[in-house]
């Protein structure tokens, strides 16, 4: 059962991963990438990591849906109605990739992997939580800070309007001057 699931998901993941760069239509490419990443989530579930697998599915779905919008905003030919290539140094890239894949596979097959130590805990999710809140607290804090910094950096990079644009030079405007009025009535 799980062997069949592994093979189906693995083949689908790699195939849709390849299709990402073969589709002309941006929408298809995005959702092909989503399929590949959903399959990765599925593989995690096959491995017994239910929580992380489902979280991957959740995150990737939302991420790809949002990416689709950016795609339409910034791409020149999102619907792929006019076939065009937007590629550079294909040959070099193909060589690099084929080379790295071969060496990775050789490495994977030759390395004497250590034997399995210990047993999986009954509840890996609990294990993960305890670890993140215990020995791995530093990782968790770093991730938290990184995410926070990302939020700030993203807003700074993406917007061009600051509070002086919204509330006037002396920041005294009663109502912000926004292109669209918001819902809280400030």
């Amino acid at each position: 059962m799980s062997t069949a699931a592994f093979w189906a998901l693995a083949v689908l993941a790699v195939a849709s991963g390849i299709m990402v760069f073969r589709f002309d239509s941006m929408a298809r490419a995005t959702f092909s990438l989503l399929t590949a990443l959903l399959c990765v989530g599925g593989e995690l579930i096959v491995l017994g990591l239910d929580y992380l697998g489902v979280v991957t599915v959740l995150m990737m779905t939302i991420e790809m849906a949002i990416m689709a919008v950016f795609m339409i905003m910034f791409m020149m030919n999102p619907a792929g109605l006019m076939p065009m290539t937007m590629l550079h140094n294909r040959r070099g890239a193909a060589l690099i990739c084929a080379g790295s894949f071969t060496s990775l596979v050789v490495g994977i097959l030759l390395v004497p992997w250590p034997r399995r130590v210990g047993r999986a805990p009954a509840d890996p999710t609990m294990d993960l939580g305890m670890s993140l809140m215990g020995p791995q607290m530093l990782t968790m804090m770093t991730l938290g800070m990184a995410l926070f910094a990302t939020i700030v950096a993203t807003v700074v990079l993406a917007t061009r309007r600051g509070r002086y644009d919204r509330y006037g030079d002396d920041l005294r405007a009663a109502r912000p001057d926004d292109p669209v009025r918001g819902g809280v009535g400030r």
Partner: protein, 101 residues
């Protein structure tokens, strides 16, 4: 279904993503390549956890880190594209490289 098979799948995903990241001109497509590479990393980490050290949570923590990296990469990537696009109307790597000149 052993460790090697999982790792080879992960390597295939990683290399497909690498190919995309190297060849695509559009920044958005380049980010899709990066996502695929990180997807490979996640899979490899999960396989390593299951087949090598299931008792320790380190493999799981690595997956959490990779997922966070994906989110951060995406958010920053789109913010940079938006900023570039706003100032220069640039949306491909080649065009961004020309800006230096």
């Amino acid at each position: 279904m052993n460790l090697e098979l999982f790792l080879i799948t992960a390597a295939a995903l990683f290399c497909v993503g690498l190919y995309g990241a190297l060849t695509q001109q559009s920044i958005v497509m380049l980010m899709m390549g990066l996502e695929l590479m990180l997807g490979g990393v996640i899979l490899a980490a999960g396989a390593a956890w299951h087949h090598i050290a299931p008792a320790a949570a380190d493999g799981q923590v690595l997956i959490v880190v990779a997922i966070t990296a994906m989110a951060v990469e995406m958010a920053i990537g789109f913010a940079v594209v938006t900023a570039l696009f706003r100032s220069r109307e640039v949306d491909t790597t080649d065009m961004a490289a020309e800006l230096r000149e």
